[in-house]
């Protein structure tokens, strides 16, 4: 008999989704209660995950198609925390746009479920199932503000392009299956060591599909439009949570089934990384919409994460995970600020709307200052350490070119972050924004800013947690 306790988080969250659906259908005006209950559901899932799986070093279930190890449990927890925070700070935004419905939390829950399946997958089919589950929920979320043209456009674009990439991925999977005769990652890993061209095609197709999901250059085209068009809280979700899951799958694919084919994928990852870092930094310079800018900045941050993966070392993987965790915190803080730019039920998302913010809202501007300098990677803020760890891992493998290109692109990136700071601090002020924000929003902003600011005092803790992850 399998030890079902290990998948208890997934089981619990699926049951919660079904229960909430039923509740939403049979109870009138149940949006508030669904919200609260789904928050609890996520919280309990997180607790179960910590209790049941955190101490597990490596276990497999269901004919080895699901794997529970320190990587999967840590990433699940980050996913759940991210999902929880998104849900908790979206309520006032959703109310403003009359989108405070039962579907929203349920969709978020189901995409989280999909991600958890993805994270734990040790089999091509299980992986694909999880991927599609989360994607389908995300398509709907992107169009959630259905009365708005841009939102619908975003959803459609995301759907078409994502379906295309899923197709590529599936084709790649079938090629890999053809060569190895199995869908199980461990078996594939043992079988694959040939230099067949067609196998390389399979790997490339899979990597392209995954690169699309994490929006690495040159498969990033959808990101700016989708990020801009989706409702802000959904964009927040997009920039954080699916990336964590996709990154985990990326790690899993590279270091389990494709471990013996390093020569064939390492250059691809290095290229994706360099292209994302440079393109993300350069393309963000001309942006005027904050959400588009965040899209480009997230592309360049993904570039740094991939740099860690390209190193083929445990340190590299750990540094990528540290990077993505710190990035999630910075991103959350940035979106909290964005959600505070509200005046009479209208949300502002142009960079010029930040003009002179420091005069009227000194605290908000100070938070933005910390967040932006951290995103730019200036010490002693958390963002610097994220980059620092990645480059330590990169330089350990003597990949000097990657390190130097990466660091030079941080200088370019610093330019557009500075431009926002300039607009906030040096320009003329505009009208005041409303200050009656929800407590959760203020709380999330304060906590995440303090974490960013004071990370340097206790840098060891995060490393300690992450250092349990040893894939290779």
């Amino acid at each position: 008999m399998e030890n079902l306790n290990l998948v208890l988080p997934e089981i619990f969250i699926s049951l919660s989704i079904m229960f909430l659906l039923v509740l939403g259908v049979f109870k009138k005006d149940s949006s508030k209660i669904t919200f609260i209950l789904s928050l609890f559901a996520i919280l309990i899932t997180a607790i179960i995950t910590i209790n049941e799986t955190f101490s597990v070093s490596r276990e497999t279930l269901f004919n080895e198609s699901v794997v529970i190890d320190s990587l999967s449990s840590l990433m699940k927890i980050i996913t759940l925390v991210g999902g929880f925070l998104v849900l908790v700070i979206s309520s006032s935004y959703l109310k403003t746009f009359k989108m405070y419905n039962i579907e929203y939390p349920i969709l978020i829950l189901s995409s989280i479920l999909g991600m958890m399946v993805m994270i734990s997958s040790n089999d091509l089919i299980v992986f694909y199932m999880g991927l599609e589950l989360q994607s389908l929920a995300l398509y709907v979320l992107a169009t959630y503000n259905r009365d708005q043209l841009k939102s619908s456009e975003a959803g459609l674009k995301y759907f078409v392009l994502s379906a295309l990439s899923s197709g590529l991925l599936l084709y790649g999977c079938s090629l890999v299956y053809g060569f190895s005769g199995s869908t199980n990652f461990d078996i594939i890993s043992n079988q694959l060591n040939s230099n067949e061209y067609v196998l390389t095609f399979g790997i490339v197709f899979i990597l392209v599909g995954l690169a699309f999901k994490i929006s690495a250059v040159p498969f990033h085209m959808w990101a700016p439009d989708v990020y801009e068009g989706s409702p802000t809280t959904v964009t927040l979700f997009f920039t954080m949570v699916p990336k964590i899951a996709a990154l985990t799958v990326f790690i899993r694919f590279l270091y389990v089934p494709f471990l013996n084919l390093i020569d064939q994928w390492q250059m691809i990852i290095v290229f994706l990384s360099i292209a994302s870092m440079i393109f993300g930094a350069v393309a963000a310079i001309g942006q005027t919409n904050i959400k588009r800018l965040i899209a480009y900045s997230s592309i360049s941050h993904i570039g740094y994460t991939l740099a860690g993966l390209a190193t083929v070392s445990n340190e590299g993987i750990q540094s990528s995970i540290i990077y993505i965790s710190i990035y999630v915190v910075m991103n959350l803080a940035l979106f909290c600020c964005l959600l505070m730019l509200r005046r009479k039920d209208q949300y502002y998302e142009d960079i010029s709307d930040l003009s002179g913010l420091s005069k009227n809202h000194p605290m908000l501007s100070l938070c933005l200052l910390v967040i932006l300098f951290s995103l730019a990677g200036i010490p002693p803020l958390a963002g610097f350490f994220a980059k620092f760890y990645v480059f330590i891992a990169v330089l350990e493998q003597s990949m000097y070119f990657l390190a130097i290109v990466g660091l030079l692109s941080t200088v370019v990136a610093a330019f557009y972050y500075l431009r926002i700071i300039k607009i906030i601090y040096f320009d003329k002020e505009k009208d005041k924004y409303d200050t009656d924000h929800s407590l959760w929003l203020k709380f999330s902003l304060t906590v995440s800013t303090i974490l960013i600011l004071l990370y340097f005092i206790f840098p060891s803790q995060l490393i300690e947690v992450v250092s349990r992850i040893n894939i290779i």
Partner: protein, 493 residues
């Protein structure tokens, strides 16, 4: 474990800044905030003086060392001072209160925020000078960009945005290569602890590249020709207190870095690249002195003179002679005092006339004599008149240079003459001549606080000019040891 005196020096300004942060910001002249900031910095100054008194001059090993685990098994938070760094710490703690007293007129809005920025800046700068771990050093070195960017950008003059960006991006660009080098050193040697690195040394085959990476950062920060162009912009647009901080302390971080890291860690590469440094320094000395001659803006003129003076400093450091290095350190301290004083004197007339153009002035001696006398003292100190601290530094540097390379020394000596030319000509045009501008007749002489801070700066300039022994005694053993270490490294190769 003794009382962590260096950490308290670093932390005290931050505590002051936090305190200010939680006080209410008042419009206009916020005296409470100013007193709090002043109190913090003066206390910090007193602590650093105590540090100097209890400092043991007879040894070159690091003192007051604190060593704590910071990132498990990787980086230690390690600080300590030797004869070289202690002087820079005192310079920092001495200049900062002067900056704070001087903000009277130059900063009109958001005084509290300005003071917070200055306090944080002070803390980072002290951190730079006492860090004994490369990563800790880098952290402080880079973190200083944030407050300085804000100081220039928020409280600066008309082209402040351009200048702030230029300052930030130039220095960041220089530093990222240093970060690559620091991490590489970690992988080559297994440590980033400077003291350990001194002992084990770095493999010769890596030294040249690593040296260049450090050089790229320090050259921008010094600034050396041809990457000096951010400095005049930053200086001109920064508010007076910002210019003072920049000129007096920020520029010294690079000179200090050259001595501590480039010479200390890469002795063989330093030897290899000496011709490069000589060339750039000599060009800086001659070229920027000539540019300074042509300036019409007083602040810009002083900024270019800073580049020329820092050219002397880099020249002196890489003579790799006792006199040269000692001269460079004294020149840096002296330049810290003199350039701070010069920016403040310019600030004084700028606050009254709102013009930095030399042509606005002329004949000041007949209306504001006190000011003119002090200005003369600082101008003479800047050109290195015997009896001022500027002389000691330049003289020692040239002595070291003559020992090492005759031609370079001769050209540099011409730079001294040019330096005299632009300074005296500036003084002549501003202070002497006929009083043409009608507005100048109503100009007021120094008020009490201005008089006080300028005298505070004049006193050490004169004192160390006549009696440099306290400075030389402090640095002597450390410098001798550095040279010995360097020579033995060269010999062992």
């Amino acid at each position: 474990m003794n009382f962590p005196i260096l950490s308290s020096l670093i932390l005290l300004p931050i505590v002051g800044a936090l305190f200010l942060f939680f006080t209410k910001d008042k419009e206009g002249n916020n005296l409470t905030a100013k007193y709090v900031a002043l109190f913090t910095t003066v206390v910090n100054f007193l602590i650093s003086i105590y540090l100097w008194i209890s400092f043991d001059q007879s040894t070159s090993s690091f003192q007051f060392v604190e060593d704590r685990v910071w990132i498990e098994g990787f980086i230690n938070y390690k600080v300590g001072v030797d004869g070289i760094s202690i002087l820079f710490i005192i310079l920092t703690t001495f200049i900062t209160p002067i900056c704070i007293i001087s903000v009277n007129n130059s900063v009109k809005n958001r005084l509290r925020d300005f003071l917070i920025a200055i306090l944080i800046m002070e803390s980072f700068m002290i951190g730079v000078f006492c860090a004994l771990d490369l990563v800790v050093f880098y952290l402080f070195f880079e973190a200083g960009l944030i407050p300085m960017f804000l100081i220039i950008g928020i409280w600066g003059g008309a082209r402040r945005v351009y200048s702030a960006f230029k300052f930030f991006l130039y220095t960041l660009l220089g530093s990222v290569l240093m970060l690559v080098a620091i991490i590489s050193i970690y992988w080559i040697t297994g440590t980033t602890d400077v003291v350990q690195l001194y002992e084990i040394g770095i493999d010769v085959k890596y030294q040249n590249l690593l040296w260049l990476a450090f050089f790229s950062s320090f050259a921008v920060k010094t600034p050396m020709w041809p990457v000096h162009t951010w400095l005049p912009d930053a200086h001109v647009e920064a508010p007076t207190a910002g210019s003072v901080l920049l000129a007096a302390i920020l520029l010294k971080m690079a000179g200090y870095g050259f001595i501590r890291f480039s010479l200390g860690l890469f002795p063989i590469a330093s030897e290899v690249f000496t011709p490069l440094i000589y060339t750039l320094s000599v060009i800086a000395i001659i070229f920027t002195s000539l540019i300074a001659l042509m300036q019409e803006d007083m602040k810009k003129l002083i900024a270019y003179s800073s580049v020329a003076h820092m050219g002397f400093v880099t020249l002196g450091i890489f003579t790799l002679q006792q006199q040269g290095i000692e001269g460079s350190i004294i020149q840096m301290i002296s330049h810290g005092l003199v350039s701070a004083a010069l920016f403040l004197t310019v600030g004084v007339v700028y606050d009254r006339m709102h013009s930095r153009l030399i042509s606005t002035y002329g004949g000041l001696v007949s209306v504001i004599p006190k000011y003119s006398i002090l200005f003369m003292l600082f101008a003479l100190a800047s050109l290195g008149l015997p009896g001022t601290s500027g002389f000691i530094g330049e003289f020692l540097i040239l002595m070291g240079a003559f020992k090492d390379n005759f031609l370079v020394a001769v050209i540099a000596s011409i730079g001294v003459i040019l330096g005299a030319a632009y300074m005296l000509w500036l003084y002549k045009r501003v202070v002497f001549g006929k009083l043409i501008n009608e507005d100048l007749k109503k100009i007021l002489d120094l008020n009490r606080s201005e008089y006080f801070i300028l005298s505070c700066l004049a006193a050490p300039i004169l004192f160390f000019g006549f009696y440099p022994d306290p400075l030389i005694n402090t640095i002597e053993v450390s410098v001798t040891d550095l040279i010995n270490m360097h020579d033995s490294n060269i010999a062992s190769k």
